[in-house]
Amino acid sequence: MTSIWRKAVRDFWQERARTTLVVLAIALGISAFCAVLSAYAILTRELDRGYLATNPASAILSTDRIDDELISAVLSNPAVSDAEPRRVVTGQIKAGPAQWRNLMLFVVKDYGQIRVSKLERQQGAWPPAAGEILIERDALQVARAKIGDTVEVKTVNGVEQPLFVSGSVHDVGQAQARMENIVYGYITLDTLKQLGEEPYLDRLNILVAENRFDQEHIRSVADQVKKLLESRGHAVRRVDLPQPGKHPHSDLMGLLLLAMSSFGLFVLTLSGILVVNLLTALMASQVRQIGVMKAIGATRNQIARIYFGQALLLGGVAVILALPVGMFGSRILCRYMALFLNFDINSFAVPLWVYLLVAVIGLVGPLLAAAYPVWRGSSISVLAALGDFGVAQERFGVSTLDRALARVGGTLRPLALAIRNSFRRRTRLALTLLTLTAGGLFFMSALNIRASMISTLDRLFATRNFDLSVGLSTMYPLEKVEHAIQNTRGIVRGEGWFTMDGSLANGAETAVNTSAHSEKQSGPHSGGPGTERFNVIALPFDTTLIKFDLLDGRQLAASDTDAIVVNNALAARSPEFRVGRRVSLQIGPQVTSWIVVGIARESFSPPVAYIPRSFLDARHGEMANTLRLRLEKSDPDSISVVKSDLDRNLTHEGIRAVGSVSKTESRFAFDQHMLMIYVFLIIMSAIIALVGGLGLMTTMTLNVLERRREMGVLRAIGAKPYIIWLIVVVEGLVIGILSWAMAAIAAWPISRALGNMMVKVLFTSGLDFTFEPVGLLIWLAVSVVVSIAGSFLPAWRASQLTVREALAYE
């Protein structure tokens, strides 16, 4: 090692307290970046690998009865490598004395022969025997059941039956049951028969033989199969084409991780600011040394190399510290995300490119941060360097701000000194403020976004004046439905609505689903991108159970025959949905023409069109397939009692209810998604505040170091140690409060933009912005605590200096 490198190392060792702080801050940034980057690499690999391992269906065709002959016919198409029939039946499962949860029952003919969309066996029996049910592992909690229990189940057409929970499975392709508040169950055809349903399979999962990831190819093969089915007299109700090779939540996860990666880089940038501060101060304190080195033959490049070497050293040590922490963090993140998306991680192996990228960024980042101070510091001439009288000779009092500050503090001179001191090193102050302000901004944004999410959801749910929504197995005469409602105690008002699938007449999607509930309950993820169909709800024009929050136009009126109100999600889909414009919709088998009379705001909702039920009454008579009910009491127990009572009355009328969602339950699903954003922002702000705190501590250490002589003078003229301590702490406090003020000013626009951006990723819908004033107060308290904590140690050290030491310092 040459003397040049020895100097680089020992200079840092001499300033080990400062160096440690900076290394910690950089390591924190690199750890955050490393954790997210590794998690991204692991999760995308494992999610898609785990999903692909299940051999997910290329296309799913919903038809009528599928028999072996039909399967053979489909398999005779060389473009189809495999085909397997399934059935999905909706129903309810009893989760408490009077509590029913929505149930999605997957019916499999032969559990030993599952080749497409495979299930992973978890615990207990395999396959389930007749009268037994396997429950998706995450759904056990929703069902409040465990293996060995007997649960009550009822399906669309069946009767309430006890089923023995004989085991659990993992269904990679399903969203987390807890978040969706739904139970996924797996049974055989025999069990389906026991439940009172006709034992047949109607969903054909096909796998294409070639080009498995080519959507166009899959579409064309699915079309061939559809035609084959139709040619053999089978009606095809719908064709679903999942995104090939991609887990349904893969893109969502990618977006979330991308947001987190950006955050990791942001923290790294903030920690780079500390490097700028440290090296600027280091170079300022070594001006004479630079002069001497130049005098004895060092070129500017050689000088720069010493300090770049130091920056490299900082980065190197930080990378070594950060890698294990980052890897640990990535495991936590992976586990959390895997739980959220309900999949298993088989390997936490991190690809080499992640290590390399982290190392490159960890090493190059500090070098970039060092570039300006090193370039500037190494350019000083020998003469100027040798003539330097020390680092504390900056000229204070020249600018207007200095003169204004000179009037601050009044007769309380130590306070005045502390306030003025804060502004002496402006660049350093600005950089320190930047980190602290960023922490405050993220924290206040987290609270504001949370408040905005609550307010947006409140506004959405305020438009819904019903407490319970009940789906019926098919359409029933309205008169009978109303009779059952009237006979049920606890219902203030009830209406029978009719829900259908619809699409723009020029959109060529297949068919209609006339059952009340499609296979997936309407929740935060329904109606995602790629679906061209939307819900069409026929409701009484004078309904009191929904009050449109109109963005444009008007409500439905008594005289309307061809009027339609669309929600903003549908309006955003096509420019045709504008007030006053006429649109052609395929609703049922018919194409009909409608005039858009209103656009209603329904945040976080899937696309929906509302039409007057008179349209339907004229064609099918007065029928309904869903109920909306306002109840006297809306607590879960009261709702359960009403549901049981209503169920009995509906059965009495010959009507089968197949599922229900209370307002509280749908709100819960939204809240779970929102919580994720909120927690993410809070963690971000905590990490940034930590970097900010370390930054402040570095700044205060540098400030104290540079002003040792002044402190010696203060001590010499009678200042007691605690006064010195106080001056330094107040200086830190001034910086902390300044950062709070800046964050407070910027919080409104920033949190609004950030909230909209993040919520749009999840729901393709913006926020009703609400400012949370409590955030200001909490962050003020945090700023005060961080400022005092950050300046405590430097202040204490300053107060311990003897006059002789302070004055002798050069």
Partner: protein
């Protein structure tokens, strides 16, 4: 514009030991800095060994300085984080005048020559003023420069140590090194070959051989 030096015309022979004297602010240090390539004249030339150094770029000047000039400062100016031997090795590292493996041996030899070899592995803070200045002189000799420039090298030393340092410089000059020293020392005449007096930035006519 204030001129620190004016109408200075000076030639110093190789191996000469020249003392520059004068009051504070008279321009002594400026003259020394001109000779060492630390400062540049606003007009005129500074030619060392036939080379006009005031025309060199900063980087070339630094390289030239490393090989040609050894500096000794009043406040020693040793780098506090390097040991005595490492301080002496530093100019060799910068100028790469000796192979890396030989540099420590050479540094130790130079420290031996100035009488502080026993302190080779100590940090400057552990050395007395006189010892530090000896190390500084050893550092100045590291690249075997033909010229040593010393700015008040005894200004911070007691009289006994100052005498030792001057004797050391005299020995260097006797060995063929050109030594130019700026000093206030009264008995400088004892060691130097020629004394130059600067008054208000100009060389006094009284400049004369010391012995």
């Amino acid at each position: 514009m204030f001129a620190a030096l004016r109408d200075v015309e000076l030639a110093i022979e190789a191996g000469e030991f020249v003392g520059i004297v004068g009051r504070s602010g008279s321009g002594k240090s400026t003259l020394l800095n001109m000779i060492g390539g630390i400062d540049r004249p606003s007009s005129g030339i500074v030619s060392i060994g036939g080379k006009s150094i005031n025309e060199l770029s900063e980087n070339r000047l630094a390289s030239w300085r490393g090989r040609t000039v050894g500096f000794v400062f009043q406040f020693f100016q040793l780098l506090p984080t390097l040991t005595a031997a490492e301080n002496v090795s530093l100019p060799m590292d910068f100028s790469r005048t000796f192979p890396a493996r030989e540099r420590r041996q050479r540094a130790l030899a130079l420290l031996e020559r100035v009488g502080v070899a026993q302190h080779a592995d100590k940090l400057p803070s552990a050395l007395s003023g006189g010892e530090q200045q000896r190390v500084a002189i050893a550092r100045a000799l590291a690249n075997e420069p033909p010229i040593i420039l010393a700015d008040e090298p005894t200004g911070n030393l007691d009289s006994v140590t100052a005498r030792d340092v001057l004797d050391l410089l005299r020995t260097m000059a006797a060995a063929g090194t050109t030594v130019v020293i700026v000093t206030h020392e009264a008995d400088i005449a004892r060691v130097i070959d020629r004394k130059l007096e600067i008054v208000d930035g100009a060389l006094s006519n009284s400049a004369e051989p010391a012995k």
